[in-house]
């Protein structure tokens, strides 16, 4: 039986490792920039998941390393066996109930985030229709946005701080409309229209990526979303989506 001191020292080491792990999970640059309110919620969820996961991983590794250190076979033990411990009901109940409670807590929290991310915000909301086809995205701005004739463009412009409801379709096979800076994606499925809602909150240009294998051109089926000030967006719409070189 290892001494209380070595167990305590190992416990302290595990706590330090956990603290370092959690600090690292904040220090590492995991994500692209946050450019939507949804991105902030999802990143917070990610950090909570990391905080919940790191102690569990550290626990597993600590027990393994401690066992390797203390219980490895020493000379003279070649023919010996360990103590015949068959189980411990209390411990087994504990490691069933505690993870179950933790997991239910985390999944409940994820539903709160999901609800926040998908809820229609109070302010103005525009609709942009997205069409995927091998191997390009096109964007239609309906009359509700243009105030006149609808137009379509290969450019995606969005007004900053306004909610946008993407209505996504496909002309051929399944694509996935992914905007990593928004942390949002959904498939473009032939025959149905899918949706998601984003509120961009950072001016800039970000990649749009097809994230579902759609054929030989899949790798290059990329586009760009330009989040611009509302006034600039109005001007762009009035010009009928004329291609603009500068962004920002």
């Amino acid at each position: 039986m290892p001494s209380r001191r070595s167990i305590a020292a190992t416990g302290v080491a595990a706590l330090i490792a956990t603290a370092i792990g959690i600090a690292l999970s904040y220090a590492i640059h995991w994500f692209p920039v946050q450019a939507s309110t949804q991105a902030k919620n999802t990143d917070t969820l990610y950090h909570v998941l990391a905080i919940a996961s790191i102690p569990i991983f550290v626990l597993v590794v600590t027990v393994i390393l401690f066992s390797v250190w203390h219980f490895r076979m020493k000379p003279g033990q070649e023919l010996q066996d360990g103590p015949p411990i068959h189980g411990n009901t209390r411990l087994e109940v504990l490691w069933t109930a505690f993870p179950a409670a933790l997991l239910l807590g985390l999944v409940s929290y994820s539903f709160v985030v999901l609800h926040d991310n998908e809820r229609k915000p109070a302010g103005k909301e525009i609709v942009v229709e997205v069409t995927g086809q091998q191997f390009a995205w096109t964007y239609q701005y309906p009359p509700s946005v243009t105030g006149g004739a609808p137009f379509s463009s290969t450019q995606l412009y969005l007004p900053n701080n306004e909610s946008v409801d993407f209505a996504i379709r496909s002309k051929d096979v399944i694509h996935a409309f992914w905007i990593p800076a928004f942390r949002l994606q959904i498939d473009a499925v032939p025959g149905i229209t899918t949706h998601y809602r984003a509120t961009p909150d950072r001016i800039g240009s970000y990649p749009v990526v097809c994230n579902l294998l759609c054929g030989v051109g899949h790798s290059t089926m990329r586009s760009t979303v330009h989040v611009v000030a509302p006034a600039r967006f109005e001007a762009w719409v009035r010009s009928g989506g004329a291609s603009q070189s500068s962004t920002g």
């Binding site: 590492i28 569990i56 066992s67 360990g82 103590p83 015949p84 998908e118």
Partner: protein, 644 residues
């Protein structure tokens, strides 16, 4: 010397080759007859290369198996001719040639399975190396996009259907009958047939690279409608999966009947080793789930070859239905590829820590819990598919909860280590390595259950990282542990321990260097299944490619060790690890009919440290074992009573 004609008439590879040729002729004839007898516009050519090829893919494997002799017994019986009673003369393997014919000995079949599976591991790994060569730089032109899409599709298909699933079936084929004290599997002929379907399935998938238009190139997931419009290579997958799936189902039925009906006297369910429990649970999964992927690929085949429009939205088809049917198999498949590994780890850790498995009953029950829950989570692969959004809620809850039984297993293994006497040799190192890497794969799996997070990373490189932590860091680590652990039993030889340790450390280090950075790529926004990528991902990808080449090389240590040890390693003792389970109580390799005296099980399988405990005893006087109504078996020696 037999004449060529006699060779062509006797069951074996020559007649199988003849059958294969007849299969192609049959396919050509039936295509011509059907096309010329109908005036339908679709059939405006009497002969169509595509049609003949597709029909050949179905017909020639069946004719091959008939030629090989896989159906001889049943055909004789069906034709009312005298069947040839099994005289067991084909049991055992006396030369390497015996592995290339129909053989009903579970030990021969176990080795056929395992070696075939490892062949496909090497081929699949080689395809991965080609992929990493392409991905070393953005915009590289090592292969074109279509070939690249074929590479990852065939890579995944081979490693799932021809490596992980069958290698577990192969290891269990060898050791499971021994562990329960049975002379063989319940249905030896079915066992032989289920093995021979595998090389056919694998070669079919691999040969799709030669098909016009290239290999199937829409991933192992074959999502419609992309797969419907694909070139003929798609049929090599649709039909190859039928063969591999049929093999899986036959073996699972065989395991279930063997476990239920052929346990030695005294071996109650709760005296079974956990490897047996694990294969019992896995077989339940296979029997219930595998028909769903067979169906999904039948639908694709009918859509692809005959225009049935099951999945054509423009013709009333339902695109998302494909994904539901596909994942109804393919989520449980994750557990089909993991539970047998859990069984292996339980065997290795109990023996190498010299302690009883902590919480044996909970270990068995958690396997059954995973089987039940495993059927309730499939749509977590579809959180971003556009399916009805409410389905995400229950599926996220079940996905989170299925981590509980898995957690029970991990904690129980840790508790088994506690205060044991740890033999840190190669099998144990792989078991401990498995515990760490699989825990990481489990954690990223729980993260993916969280819908908003999954919405971001679904189908990204984060998924590639997760799946490889589960299937490489999980399954493959357990497979290596199992192969080293039973190598002395299966070959009668001892492997080189020093090389084994080298293999472990190189695999463990380069595995993590290869796959850990992929998490970051996915979070940063790199999609999977791309032949090129944005330049900001270049540095990490180059790093990953270099690490993956080292990982590939580490496998050569394994191959070298296994090949040289098998050919000329030191003779292995019957029970080198001092294990209590029955397979260690017979010689290495075991006698032809496993047990010269029928064992009686008198206690649990892991009673290490209990003074005087034994799992099985052998009757004091030799009892002639009889197999299937044949003659009494008398083979000399090889029985070692447990010495405690």
């Amino acid at each position: 010397m037999r004449t060529t004609l006699a060779k062509l008439r006797a069951p074996g590879l020559y007649r199988a080759g003849l059958g294969f040729a007849i299969g192609i002729a049959f396919a050509t004839a039936i295509t011509w007859v059907v096309r010329s007898s109908t005036g339908h516009a679709t059939f405006h050519h009497y002969l169509s290369g595509d049609a003949i090829l597709t029909v050949s893919l179905i017909a020639s494997p069946i004719f091959f198996l008939v030629g090989l002799g896989g159906f001889d017994y049943w055909l004789y019986w069906a034709a009312g001719r005298p069947t040839r009673p099994e005289d067991h003369s084909s049991h055992g393997a006396h030369s390497w040639k015996d592995y290339f014919r129909i053989n009903t000995d579970h030990k021969v079949i176990g080795i056929q399975y395992t070696v075939t599976a490892f062949f496909f591991l090497l081929v699949g790994g080689l395809l991965a190396m080609l992929m990493r060569a392409q991905l070393a730089q953005p915009g590289a032109q090592f292969v074109d996009a279509n070939t690249y899409n074929g590479l990852f599709s065939v890579h995944a298909s081979l490693l799932i259907f021809l490596f992980v699933i069958p290698v577990f079936a192969g290891l269990a084929n060898y050791v499971l009958p021994l562990m329960i004290g049975a002379p063989d599997m319940a249905f030896p002929r079915l066992n032989a047939l289920s093995y021979w379907l595998l090389p056919l399935a694998g070669l079919m998938m691999l040969s799709s690279f030669l098909a016009p238009g290239g290999a199937f190139a829409d991933g192992w997931t074959a999502y419609t409608p992309l797969s419907i419009d694909a070139p003929i290579g798609q049929d090599f997958f649709s039909i190859g999966v039928q063969l591999a799936g049929a093999s899986s189902i036959m073996t699972a039925l065989n395991f279930l009947v063997t476990i239920i009906t052929m346990r030695a006297p005294g071996m109650s369910f709760f005296r079974m080793p956990l490897l047996v429990w694990a294969n019992f649970a896995t077989s339940l999964l296979v029997v219930i789930a595998t028909p769903f992927i067979a169906a999904s690929q039948f639908f694709v085949l009918l859509d692809h070859a005959l225009g049935f429009n099951f999945f054509n939205a423009g013709k009333g088809g339902d695109v998302l239905m494909y994904q539901h049917v596909f994942w109804f198999y393919s989520h449980p498949a994750v557990y089909i590829m993991m539970l047998p590994g859990f069984g292996i780890i339980s065997e290795v850790i109990a023996v190498k820590a010299r302690k009883p498995i902590f919480g044996y009953r909970m270990m068995a029950f958690s396997l059954l819990a995973i089987v039940a829950l495993g059927f309730t989570v499939w749509a977590h692969h579809m959180f971003t598919s556009g399916m009805a959004s409410w389905i995400r809620i229950p599926m996220a809850i079940t996905t989170a909860i299925i981590a509980v039984p898995t957690g029970i297993k991990i904690f129980s293994w840790l508790a088994t280590l506690w205060r044991g006497i740890l033999h840190l040799d190669t099998p144990m190192l792989f078991a401990l390595g498995f515990l760490t890497t699989f825990t990481l794969g489990g954690i990223s799996g729980v993260m993916l259950a969280m819908v908003p997070f999954d919405i971001h990373v679904s189908a990204s490189y984060f998924i590639v990282a997760h799946i490889h932590y589960v299937l490489f860091g999980g399954s493959l680590m357990t497979i290596f542990a199992g192969v080293y652990y039973w190598f002395p039993k299966m070959t009668g030889r001892t492997f080189d321990e020093r090389l084994g340790k080298w293999h472990f450390w190189t695999t463990f280090v380069f595995f993590n260097l290869t796959f850990a950075p992929m998490h970051i790529l996915g979070l940063e926004g790199m999609p999977r299944r791309v032949a090129t990528y944005a330049s900001k991902f270049a540095d990490l990808n180059l790093f990953i490619s270099i690490a993956s080449f080292a990982l590939g090389l580490s496998t050569l240590i394994f191959v070298y060790n296994i090949v040289t040890s098998w050919r000329g390693g030191p003779r292995a003792a019957a029970n080198p690890w001092r294990g209590l389970t029955l397979e260690w109580q017979v010689s290495s390799p075991p006698p032809i009919f496993n047990f010269d005296r029928v064992p009686t099980v008198v206690g649990g399988p892991y009673e290490y440290g209990v003074p005087g405990a034994v799992h099985g005893i052998f009757a004091p006087a030799p009892v002639p074992a009889t197999v299937g109504g044949g003659a009494p078996v008398t083979t000399g020696g090889g029985v070692h009573a447990p010495s405690e």
